[in-house]
Amino acid sequence: MIKITRLGKGFCVAAFFSLFGAATSGNNILYIIFSIIISLIVIAFFVGIRNINKLKFSYAFPEQVFKNTPFKLKLLFSIKDIFPAAQITVSTPQDTVSISCICRRNSKWTEIKCVSKNRGLNELKDVVIASCFPFGIFEVRRTLDGIVGTAFPEIFEIYGTGSSLAFKGESRQQTKRGAGDEFFSIREYIPGEDIRLINWKLTAKTGIPLVKEYAQSVNSRVIITVTFAENGESERKINEAASLSKFFIDSGIEVKLITDEGDIDFGKGLLHLDSILHKLASLGSGKKITASFHSVSKNAEVADKYSTKHLLWISRLAALIVYASLFLLEDLSRSFIYIFGVVLLFGIFFDYKNIRIFNKLFSEIISGLFLLFIIFIDFPSTGILLATTHLVLFIFFMLILNYKSESSYKQLLLINFMIFFLVSGQTINLWYFPVLVFFVAVIFCWLFQWKDESELAPATVWTGITAFLFFITVCISIAVFIIMPRRDNPRMQAVMSAAGFNRMRRLSNSFSGLTENVRLGYYGSIRKNAGRAMRVTVFDGNGNPYKPSGEIRVRGSAFNYFAEGEWSKTPIDFEYDFEGSKKSALNSRGWIKAEKKHYFIFPGLDSLAQLSATEFYVYPVASALLFTTGNIYAAAASVEALSFDFTDTVYFPAPNISGAKYKIYSGSRYASFNKNIPVYESAVESYYLNMPEKNEFYLRIAEQYSSGKKLPVEKAKAIENYFRDNYFYSLSENFGSQTLHEFLSDTQTGNCEYFATAMCVLLRALGIPSRLVAGFVSDGWNEYGKFYDVRQNDAHAWVEAYFSGYGWMTFDPTPYRSEFDKKKTIVLKSIGKFLNAMQIKWYRHIIGYDNYTRKNYFYGFSLLPSKKLLLKIVGWTILVAAFALVLLLINRIKWRRIFSKPSKESGFYREVLSKLEKKGFKKEPWQTPKEFAEKVISENPEFASLSLLTEYFYRIKYAGERLNEAETDSVNQALETITRKLLKNQA
């Protein structure tokens, strides 16, 4: 029989809530919690059933059992499997016994009080084994079948012989020597007898030693007849017959039993009584097996008991972990959390010292006030979620300060659960993961139902069970997490997280360095910000991420119009090819709708061959730009439409204030979206050649820089090179406010914007259409995550120039860019990169996991794993096997030393005992350690150090002392000596 416990019901409710929360919010952390709870329930179910059902038992029914009289039934439990059975509770209506663990090599005898309800053959039907193992979610019960034994009739006290029963006494008066009161005779003293028997008076009279003898009167024979009738009377008769038999035999009378089913002749003594009782027991209905059954109260959870001591520490630990998780809540003010931490520590301290701070009335008043505060002030101002968090934290706080009994420890754990739950619903931070692992481990301990038991299973068995269960839990959780159906709609969460955005809310940390217009000198300020802008992963032809040589150039927006130190776009209406027809731009933008779901094919695409993919995770930005790596043919992004303008800049329909994740496909050759339009070139010439004032000045400089070159491309190259070789790069404020004219004629120093602008203007002066491009250039390759980490200070500006017949070409005149990260040491950098990679994995694979990615994974999965994967699998298998082997070795050799010694100082004595026992020196249970030591040393003087160990053991065990370091050393030394001697003996 399997029954869900209260805790189990709580678990089901928790599973429901987490699923509800997950389905409505799309937060994968709640899915994780749900998966863990489900896997715990599943494991509890199957392991619990197995735990009880695999148990084999045999029993020893006592020789003498009387009806309705309690007796001790001996049960031997054993298990054949390698997996042990744990935390078994054996119960009868009269008694309950717990067994902590039954292993394959370790069968357990246990004794339990039982009562037989019937005379004769009884089958005990109410011996039940039950267990809440492993997690207390289910209680599995099993009635032990087939315990059969004979019960004698009920025996009651007989006073006198006034029974209705027919019994005949042969009143043959016979006197006998013995221990009586009446005088019997006098006889001579026989030498050798006890001298005290001599009657001295008579001896003195006669002169011969004489002994007085006394008589024992015996009514020696009784016949008891039981006539058997099939009604209730007969049972009473049998009971009376049994009682009488016992009475007579106890008084030394010979008894004969006559029944319908045969007689038992005269006899005396307990053996005779036994045979009479057996006969009586098997009379009539006694030969049939009848079930002996008590009504068992079903509601009691026999196996559900906790040890307060452990609960206490687990609660404290859970409280601390939950406290740590509060830091993940960005809405909670930090000062509040710090104050709370102090309170928590105080609470634990006071509890440890058993000081109660608040009395009941005071805490109730405070609670009432706080509730009012929550309802009328907190809730309207901060919203329901935060108000709830505050409320739960307040309850937590009150409990911490006041918890004293077992029930409040349970409450505390419940509150811990709730807080953790709230936290789970409000964060997607990577740091949540370790907190989750710790919390689950602590809850695991709690669920493991530690009980107060004197006898504990060996540590190895426990660790084995725990490791196994943990492993299964992890596996099932992962499986449930993967296959849980997801709703597609609440994907906002996923998109935000997919961008590697640390927080759930659109608060800070978004980068704002990009605008529709760019002023000269503006980039100087952006570049001082080291905040993350985006992560870019480049895939090769097979879809594996790889590192392209050199740096990566992320193209943002391009500008065509420069005037008064400011770049902007002029509204240009244009025509473009889309889906085979010509379309005109709307509000100077061309629009494309998604082809398949979220796939976009841009005009200008020649063929899909030779396309490589690049994935972007963009941090929240107050701009609708879709960043590319130069050219773009197709894109996959979770929006309905994309737009582009005449400068080949691509836009989302709305600003990406919550971050964005998308993929673009680009080819090897640069192309413009509307290059197929015949009028494109003339349009380019009309839009990309506008100049600021002083045309001649720029022309002069341009010709000077490109002197001797004829082709436009050569001229452009020459100008680029001239800037690179002869100008200086600086982010200094001093050069942030100069004009372009000053830059070219005077300082020749500035930031990238000046260089790009200058080159652009010079090219235009020469009649080459050109535009300024704003974007990022990064070499922040992260080798762990295989992506480029693009930061705000990677912002950059460069130039694209148009050459008739070729298209747009990129030039970067900026000579040198400084690095801000150089200060960090390599180790720190590497750790930072590693964490960064972990974070992106966490977001990509866990937080961002949804139907879409699942499909991706499974479509990409082929039955024949690739060679690389195969190698990987083999490698991991070997690693795990090696790890297991090492564990096993540790287990065999030093386990005890490592684990039992710190927990119990006197462990060394057990160790030495077991060692000696293996070599044939067994300590008898009745021997005191000192006696044992004396015996061993008297036989083998080489073990003299045993007496030292014994003395230390006495001091630890019975005097409650602790050994100082020197003494511990000498203990270790003595241990080693003995071990060595033992080995030598063996050799």
Binding site: R910, K923, W926, T928, P929, E931, Y958, A959, G960
Partner: protein
């Protein structure tokens, strides 16, 4: 316990052992009785050194010592004292009997009549004596060492169970080992030497030691061990009447006192094993149908057997 006390205890047992040769175990038990505030019943054959032990103990703790030879015509007043008419001022003067000393050796206590026995035993129990309506306190440090001869039973009045219970320990001294006996022969005039022993402890110091006994730490597991032993006597088939709760309490105290004799301030299982037979053997009633008359050997054997069945907590 203070170091100085530990040293004193050691000195005391050494001093006694110097005249009472080869029985250091017995000496320890006697000291344990002394600091456990108990009385001692020695059941053994004559000539084994019972009196010598008493003298040595009394002398080494600077206590007054009296010996009373019990005979069947001994009267209570011979022990307690009596009022004697003083003709000079025609008044009664109370003359104290031998019981008004620190250590009283009651030799062959079963030789005298129950009346006299009970007078002594009452005094032992109450720590005071009432004569002619006057109640007189006995000394603070008061210990009776009674002896019995287990062989001669003719004309004796065996102590009933209830009175045996008054004694903290019942000891058997036993014959000395040959090498010890040889030493006894060579050491001349042991009695003289016993009389000349210089005291190593004052009665006050003994009283202080007595106060430390209840403070001795006894681990919970050892309390359980004691309870198991006691329960074994109650459930054993060969024992008619098991040990009473008073017996349990005295066993604990005896173990504590015995630990003190080693200068330890905690009890170890060996202490319990050492005192269990002397404390319990006279507190059980064995089934006489099974075990005849001879009692001390039998009950000792039963206790020993029972103890062997109880596992020592480790």
């Amino acid at each position: 316990m203070r170091d100085e006390q530990i040293n004193k205890i050691k000195l005391l047992s050494d001093t006694i052992s110097r005249v009472f040769i080869g029985k250091s175990e017995i000496v320890r038990l006697v000291i344990a009785t002394l600091i456990g505030k108990g009385h001692l019943l020695i059941e053994d054959v004559p000539g084994i050194g019972k009196t010598l032990l008493g003298i040595a103990l009394a002398k080494s703790i600077d206590a007054s010592f009296k010996r009373i030879q019990f005979t069947n015509d001994l009267l209570p007043s011979d022990i307690l004292g009596s009022s004697i008419f003083k003709s000079s001022d025609s008044s009664f003067e109370f003359r104290r009997g031998p019981i008004f000393s620190n250590i009283v050796l009651a030799d062959e206590i079963n030789r005298t009549t129950p009346k006299t026995q009970s007078a002594l035993l009452e005094a032992m129990n109450d720590g005071r004596v009432t004569i002619d309506g006057n109640t007189l306190p006995l000394p603070e440090l008061f210990m009776v060492i009674a002896t019995q001869n287990p062989v001669e039973y003719h004309g004796t009045y065996p102590l009933p169970e209830a009175q045996l219970d008054r004694f903290f320990l019942r000891l058997k001294i036993g014959y000395p080992l040959p090498e010890h006996e040889k030493k006894i022969i060579h050491e001349k005039d042991l009695y003289d030497r016993a009389h000349k022993i210089d005291s190593v402890l004052s009665t006050k110091e003994v009283e202080e030691l007595q106060k430390t006994v209840p403070e001795i730490r006894i681990d919970e597991s050892l309390v359980d061990y004691i309870l198991k032993i006691v329960n074994a006597t109650r459930n054993s088939k060969s024992v008619k009447l098991g040990v009473s709760p008073r017996g349990t309490l005295l066993l604990v105290r005896a173990a504590q006192a015995y630990a003190v004799t080693f200068g330890r301030d905690y009890v170890v299982p060996d202490d319990i094993k050492a005192v269990v037979v002397p404390v319990l053997s006279h507190r059980i009633v064995i089934d006489s149908n099974l075990y005849g008359f001879s009692r001390i050997n039998e009950s000792d054997g039963i206790i020993n057997e029972l103890v062997k069945k109880v596992p020592v907590p480790v």
